[in-house]
Structure formats: structure tokens, C-alpha cells
């Protein structure tokens, strides 16, 4: 028996019990505690890592050790360290092998991860940006190929995938693989400067947040009728704008705050908004604290805001839009 690793021989019920235990832990550390945005990210990170490790254990117990080196990475708000109390899954996987059976192994692992994360309270991604999807679970070589073809195709959809990948951050496995892929991507973009303009256009549609009379605009239809779309209107202009600058400056960090920090000093006009963005993230947590379901997390009830808070919110709407437009102009001028 020397050298042979012993895996737990759990049935499905036992695994579910493990996930349930982790879900309870999530309730404790995320929902039953006061948080700053940073402390909330740490709590999420721990829960997600534990869930992914459990899923990995489960796969190992059924399929054996991973057949190659790999890295599991988060994208979206998780990748950027900007999750709210509830968030959905956005993740992918890269592995160092081109053998077909190995791909099956990692896709299976991806499926186990999706299941585990769902059980601990992270909803599946509607757009299927998950490691169980062959598009987001590839060998290193295929990832390189795919990134190249996304840029080459130059369609709205493929550029949106590219931007999603820019926010990838490895949390388990061989982190360098993700970093190298991103560096390769940055090089591809810098060699064809028009791509930066195309990427800028991709996120250029900013949802309107203020009406003609300087009033905050809410949803007029659908299940969020009467609510203010905080994510699209306030958060996205900053996030999308700074991501573009990160691509231009080849900054590997994924958090918007770190992207602010790592901008060169000649971008002082943008850098000075970092504090405002940090405050925005903190306020968001304050406003979203009572929201109990993921589908509602991005929409605010304006009635709960004081007149001062509304004023503040309006100034973020204006500032974010202005920031994105300035970045847009800058990148179009440079390229």
C-alpha cells in the first residue's frame, strides 16, 4: 500500500452532506457577519476554494489523480474580487495536456465543481461560462488557439468572451498557466491596435441612469420594475473602463482597485477616481445587505436611500459614465 493514496469512498449523500456543511459555513462567514468589501471577498474566496477542493476530491475518488497539471480560475466578479453577498458562477479551467481522455477528466471535474458551487450557494451561470463547458475548459494549446480565433473572428460575441477571460484569476493549481495565457493575449492585442478599439466598442453601451430632469432612472418593465440597476449603471462603467486600460497597459491583476493602482502616473486623471470606486463598493454592500436572493442582488430599491445617498449615487452615475467616455476617447486616440 505504500505510496498509494487513500480517497474517501463517499456516496452522493455523503458528498452532499459535505457541501451542506460548507453552505452552513457560508451562512456564518458571509451572511451573518459585518463585512467590508475586502473581508467579504476573502470569505467568498475561502468558501469557493473549499468547494472546489471538495469537488476535486470527489473527482479523484472516482477518476483518480489529475492526469496533467491544471489551473482552475475564476472570472466575472469573483475573478475581480468584487462579489456581493450573492453571486453566480463564472469560471474556467486550463490543463497541460492534449490527450482526449484527459480533456474528459477535466470536463468531469468541471461538472463536479459546478455542482459543488451550486450546493454552497453560487448559482449556475446563465451564459454557461463554467469549467463544465468545453469552451471554458481547454488544454493550454487549445486555449491559445481559441484566444487567437476569438480575436481573429472579431465578432461581438467572441470579443465579449475575450473580455471575460481578461478577468480570469487562478485560485487552484498552476497559476502561471493562466498568467502566461493572458500575457499571450495581451501581446496579440498590442500587435493589432485596432482590436483595442473594437474591445472598447464592445462594452461601450452604458445603461442610462439619469433622466432629463437629473432623476435616477429605474426599470420600467419586467421583474425588476421600479428598481435601479446598480450593476449595469454604476458598477460596469468603472469595471469595463479599467479592464480596457489594464489590457492596454498589460496589467495582469484582475481587481479593479489594483488596476487603478497599477496604472502609470500619466493616467493620474483616472487614478484619482480609485477612492471613489472603493467607496462605491463599500456602499454597495451597505445597500445590498438585506437582499436574500441572487436574482435580486443587482437591483436597488431607491426608497431605502436617503436624499444624500441618492445624491451620491447620481454623482457615481455621472462619474462612471464620464470615466468610460474619457477612456474610450483616449484609447481611440492612441490607436
Amino acid at each position: 500500500m505504500t505510496g498509494a493514496k487513500v480517497y474517501p469512498t463517499f456516496g452522493d449523500h455523503e458528498w452532499d452532506a459535505q457541501y451542506k456543511h460548507l453552505y452552513d459555513q457560508r451562512q456564518q462567514t458571509i451572511h451573518n457577519q459585518e463585512h467590508t468589501s475586502a473581508s467579504l471577498q476573502n470569505s467568498h474566496e475561502q468558501i469557493i476554494k473549499k468547494a472546489v477542493c471538495l469537488a476535486l476530491e470527489k473527482t479523484k475518488s472516482e477518476w483518480g489523480e489529475p492526469p496533467a497539471h491544471f489551473a482552475f480560475f475564476l472570472m466575472g466578479s469573483g475573478g475581480r474580487f468584487e462579489q456581493s453577498f450573492w453571486s453566480d458562477q463564472d469560471h474556467g479551467l486550463v490543463f497541460d495536456s492534449s490527450i482526449e481522455e484527459d480533456e474528459a477528466y477535466f470536463l468531469h471535474l468541471g461538472g463536479d465543481i459546478v455542482y459543488a458551487l451550486e450546493k454552497v450557494g453560487y448559482e449556475r451561470c446563465d451564459g454557461k461560462v463554467m469549467a463544465s463547458n468545453p469552451k471554458w475548459c481547454c488544454s493550454y494549446a487549445k486555449w491559445e488557439e481559441q484566444l487567437k480565433s476569438w480575436l481573429h473572428e472579431d465578432k461581438w460575441e467572441t470579443l465579449r468572451y475575450t473580455l471575460t477571460f481578461v478577468d480570469s484569476r487562478s485560485i487552484i493549481g498552476k497559476h502561471e498557466m493562466v498568467e502566461q495565457l493572458k500575457q499571450t493575449l495581451f501581446k496579440m492585442i498590442s500587435s493589432q491596435p485596432y482590436l483595442l478599439r473594437r474591445l472598447t466598442e464592445n462594452t461601450g453601451k452604458i445603461k442610462k441612469g439619469l433622466g432629463l430632469f437629473n432623476q435616477l432612472l429605474v426599470e420600467t418593465k419586467g421583474k425588476h420594475k421600479g428598481k435601479f440597476d446598480f450593476k449595469q449603471i454604476v458598477l460596469f462603467p468603472y469595471v469595463n473602463g479599467l479592464r480596457l486600460l489594464a489590457i492596454e497597459q498589460e496589467i495582469l491583476s484582475t481587481s479593479t482597485i489594483e488596476r487603478f493602482q497599477q496604472l502609470p502616473s500619466r493616467y493620474e486623471q483616472f487614478k484619482q477616481l480609485q477612492l471613489s470606486f472603493e467607496q462605491l463598493l463599500e456602499h454597495r454592500l451597505l445597500w445590498q445587505k438585506e437582499i436574500e436572493r441572487y436574482e435580486k442582488i443587482h437591483h436597488l430599491s431607491l426608497e431605502q436611500l436617503s436624499p444624500d445617498e441618492r445624491k451620491q449615487l447620481k454623482s457615481w452615475v455621472r462619474e462612471g459614465r464620464q470615466l468610460y467616455q474619457n477612456i474610450e476617447r483616449l484609447l481611440q486616440r492612441v490607436n
Partner: protein
Amino acid sequence: MTELALMDNLWVMICAVLVLFMQGGFILLEAGSTRMKNAGHIAGKTIFTVGIASLVYWAVGWGFAYGEGNAFIGMSDFFFGDFTTVDEGLVGSVDFFFQLMFAAIALTIAFGGFAERAKLSAYIVFAVLFSAFVYPIVAHWIWGDGWLADLGKQDFAGSTVVHLTGAMAALAATILLKPRLGKYNKDGSSNDLAGHNQVYTALGVLILWVGWFGFNAGSTLEVADGFFGYVALNTQLAAAAGAVAALFIAWAMTGKSDVPSMLNGALAGLVAITASCAFVAPWAAVVIGIVGGLIVFFSMKFFDKARIDDPIFALSVHGVAGVWGTVSTGFFATPELAAMNGGSAGLLYGGGFGQLGIQVLSVVACGAFAFVASYILLLVTKAVCGGLRVTEEEEIVGLDLSEHGGYGYPESMPGNEKTGA
């Protein structure tokens, strides 16, 4: 009969047909603004209720409106059948035919408040009662030998007589029927039960717009001096201004250039100018249309918030805009046009508050009468029909199936999909 009189009769006959054609506009407007499962019902009911309105108006409606009687009701000329000719003006049957079409329009407006939840039997009974006892009375007061006509009330083509009367009945109906299932949540917030076809709604509005030239320009009742052209001009300007104003205000307030709001703005402009089209200058027609387009937007929001479910916006388009249109002549009637068409000049032309007062009085009196009378008659209808509203189950499956046994869109309904070979 002189040639001129013959032309007058021909003109009014053509306009009567145009007003009848407006029912086609209502069919598309209402069907497009409601859900698929009720489309066949809402289109079909318009046809048979025009039938009921015609029979009842012929039997008693015309007599109550234009028969000889007192200041409140006419009491002769029932079962109309006058075939005698005249030298000047309209022959009785042409006049009757034109007036009948207005009565039918008022009834269709009233049924806006019934949409998507009233029993078919309630439509039938209320069609009889409204066509006999509500519309003709108001018509008598303003257009017959009634007390408001004596005061010099200005309502050229019926902002009050037709639109406000119909809307008040719709208000009574929508209050008694209560909101549609799923319209309001427990916390009082409302859901958008979107209509199933904006293209129908837009086409419906255009057909109404075309028909409105029969409604307003036809209300000259003559071709002499070609004054109908001026009336048509004002009508066109107000509708145009209403559409543009509503589109603008929807965009300014919500950030979205909402299509139904814009369409209702065009209709509100038309409803508003209906009273004033023969009394005001073209610039005033534009102002009247703009205000109509703006208030209809806020009115829609108001009723939604007040938990009054108005599926096809009859209260806002015909009621609120009808009030505004009637009152508007009190501000904008010019001395020359008032001298030509009755009443006196408005406030802005030095006419003082006299005409404005009469306009406000007529709105309050006619609005109150139409509401109270309709409310009582709806209670009668309720007693006769054993309730006004279909059961929850019937409402959920839709009135096409529950009231008529077939769908307006059979192939789109659950269980009826064609599966192919």
C-alpha cells in the same frame, strides 16, 4: 333639395362611414394591447356590440337624445324611420346615421374598462343599458335641446359627449371588475401585462387617426365654405403634437422612448382636439395636443399606482384627455370662431372666465352623471348576469376559449402546436 344640401348630406354620410371604420381601429388597438388568449374575443365583441348599439340607438337612443322633451331628456322619435326630404341641411336619416356611429364609439370606449376579464353576458346587457340610458342623455344635454346646450357649451365633436362619457363608464367598470389576475402584487407593486402585438396597436391608432377626420371634420355637418378643412388641419396638428410630446416625456422620465406611451399620446391629442377643433387657432391646436400627450403619460402612471387596472388606457386617453380637451376651449376659443360655431371666446382672448366656467361645469356634470349612471347600471348588469367577471380559471385560460370556445390564435395556444410530419 339644393345641390349644396345634397353635398352636405353626401359629406356627412361619408364621414359616418369613416367613424364606423374607427371601430376597426379599436379592434386592432384593443387586441394588440391585450394578451393573445383574449384576442379573438376582444376583436369579435367589438362587432356585436356595434350591432347592439345600433339596434338600441335606433329604438330609443335617438329619441332620448334628439327627441322633443325637456332640458334633461328627449321623449319622441323612438324607432327612427324618417324618410322625408329637406331643402336645406341634412335629411333625418343621414343625421341619424352619423349620430349612431358616435354612440357606438362611446360604447366601445366604455368596454375598454371590461378588457380581459368581463363575462360576455355582461357585455351584452351593459351594451343595451349604456346605449339607451347613458350616452343619449349626455348627447341630449350638450348636442340636443339640453341644459348645457342652452348655456353655450362648446364640444364640437364630442370630447365630453363621446370620450368622457365612454371613459367614465370604463372607470366604473374597471373599479367594479377589479384588476386582472397577476396585475398587482401583494406589496401593491404592479406588473406589466404587456399587449401581444405593438404592430396591431400602432395600426389601430393610425386607423383611428384616419377615422377621426370623419369624426371631427364631419361634425361641421356641411361643406359650405369648406370649413371642414380647417377642422381637419387642427385635428392633424393636435394628433401630431400629442405623439411627439408623449414620446418625449416618456424618454425624459424613464429613459426609454416607450411605444405604447407614444401611441397613446397621438390618441390623447386627437381626443383633446375633438371638442376644440372648430374653436381654436392652429397654434393652440398644437398646444392642446402637446398637453394631451404629456398628461396622458402621467395619467397612465397615476392609474397604475392607484391600483386601477386600465388595460387599454381608456381612462387616460379618453377620460383625462377628454376633460382637458373640453376645458381647453375655455382658454383658447377665438372670438371669430366662437361667433361662427357657438359659445364665446376663451380666457386668453379676453373672454373672461365665462366660457371656461361652462366648460368646467359640463365636464363635472357629464362626468358625474356618466359615472354614477354607469355604476348603477353595471350593478344591474351584475345582478342580471350573476356577476360581471369570469371565474379565475376562465380568466387564466383566456376569454377566447372560455367565452367563445375557440382561440383567436389556435396554433399558438398550449396543446395546439403543430408538430409537423
